[in-house]
Amino acid sequence: MAASAESLRPSTAGLLLRLWQSSLGKKYVMAITGLILFGFVVVHMLGNLQFFAGPTLLNEYAEALKSKPPVLWGARLVLLLSAVLHITAGAQLANANKRARPVAYANSKPLVSTLANRTIIISGLVILAFIIFHLAHFTIGWVDPNYLELRDLVGRHDVHEMMVRGFQNPLVSGFYVIAVALVALHLSHGVASILQSLGLRSKNTEPHLKKLALVAAAVLFLGFCAIPIAVVTGLIR
């Protein structure tokens, strides 16, 4: 429940709290954390695509990412915090929405709706499950501890080989493709929503918002899926 109108008095300390307590404030939190996570996904895809340039470039890039632990852990912290805030704010907003319509209509079909926004919560939850598995798989090495021991010719961690071995498992590749498809679906609504929630929609920008979101989703889907498909089909081994 938000602060009452009377309590809205200037107070620097209370700004973040007021932001969090208001419906619009929470939408900004959703939008900004969503934007951070979207930015990460784009950079991650670009990094991954170096897979096609061969082991040298990819392993060098991976080593460079890990060469400055404060930067690495700083980025990881920002991403973790963004994910936690995104999920918490999303859950609270969804609960408030449910409370606002306790009795459903006989005909519950909304006037406007897309697959992406009908499934936004479930796609988010599956993506969360995937992220946990994905980290356990490639970052922590729980699935196969040998992954982290792989070395290339000059002694660097052989990320290229790890990806090839990882994606040779059709179950891993299958789950990966499904998860990436859900990321794309989530973002096809999410990217346009970020811009609307931050107030960047107008008569002039409106026709482009949805197109931008669809293009972003399609590019991410193709970019991420290219790797498991190349491995499973044996194009790259």
Binding site: R101, P110, I120
Partner: protein, 249 residues
């Protein structure tokens, strides 16, 4: 025309309601939807039964009093049309029509199809006005207003406060209504002065009343009898962020 109506009947806010089926017979296609209900009610009165309660006032599409979710669509199937301006020629002989009240926690059902929309009044009272000092009336053209601003303000001011946006939204969000009021006043120089206080207070009141949140889909815009655009919600989002940051300076 002969029609079958499935109408939501509910004694009061504290009693659960249910659908009751009625036959509407010898309906003229030129009747408005409300006139059709009047005919059904006359039959009910003759039979000694309780009439179907529904809201209405001007029956000209401008007062915002009529409501009704008709076959799942607030104000029925026609775009940019209030229930009172919806005519029976939009339906086919033999149709079954489901009629429900607006459904939202901040719009409790008072009786049958009548809901209490006082939550909208309280949102308006929290800042949806321009405080004008008394004095002589200013010259008509003393305050120049750009055509673009005047057009946008007028489009937003077309909101009649009927609540169809809340009824249509899957989250029962009132953001289109609140955004229309904020836009209408803040785009004009007279309303600009109180812009920040207005947007902070109206959004806080909207939340307090228990409306849901916008998920940027647009059912509200599709249901709005006055065609209020989602652009207004984006404007509210901008103004609120600006006001929140400035209020802490």
């Amino acid at each position: 025309m002969n029609l079958t109506l499935r109408v939501w009947r509910q004694k009061n806010a504290n009693t659960p309601g249910q659908f009751v089926t009625y036959q509407a017979q010898d309906i003229s296609p030129d009747m408005s939807f409300l006139e059709m209900l009047d005919v059904v009610n006359e039959v009910l009165i003759k039979r000694g039964e309780e009439q179907i309660a529904f809201d209405h006032d001007c029956r000209e599409g401008i007062c915002g009093m009529c409501s009704l979710v008709i076959n799942g669509a607030p104000h029925g199937p026609l775009p940019h049309t209030t229930t009172c301006q919806l005519h029976m020629r939009s339906f086919k002989d033999g149709d079954t029509i489901t009629i429900e009240p607006w459904r939202a926690t901040p719009f409790p059902v008072l009786k049958d199809l009548v809901v209490d929309r006082a939550s909208f009044d309280r949102v308006i009272q929290s800042g949806g006005y321009v405080s004008v000092s008394t004095g002589g009336a200013p010259d008509a053209n003393a305050l120049p207003i750009p055509k673009d601003s005047a057009d946008k303000a007028f489009d937003a001011a077309a909101c009649i406060g009927c609540g169809a946006c809340v009824a249509a939204c899957k989250n029962a969000s009132a953001m289109l209504f609140v955004a229309a009021k904020i836009s209408h006043l803040s785009l004009l120089p007279q309303g600009k002065v109180e812009e920040e206080r207005r947007v902070l207070n109206m959004v806080a009141k909207m939340d307090e009343e228990g409306f849901g949140n916008c998920t940027n889909i647009g059912s509200c815009e599709a249901a709005c009898p006055k065609g209020i655009s989602l652009d207004n919600i984006a404007r509210m989002n901008r103004l609120y962020l600006k006001a929140l940051l400035k209020s802490n300076l």
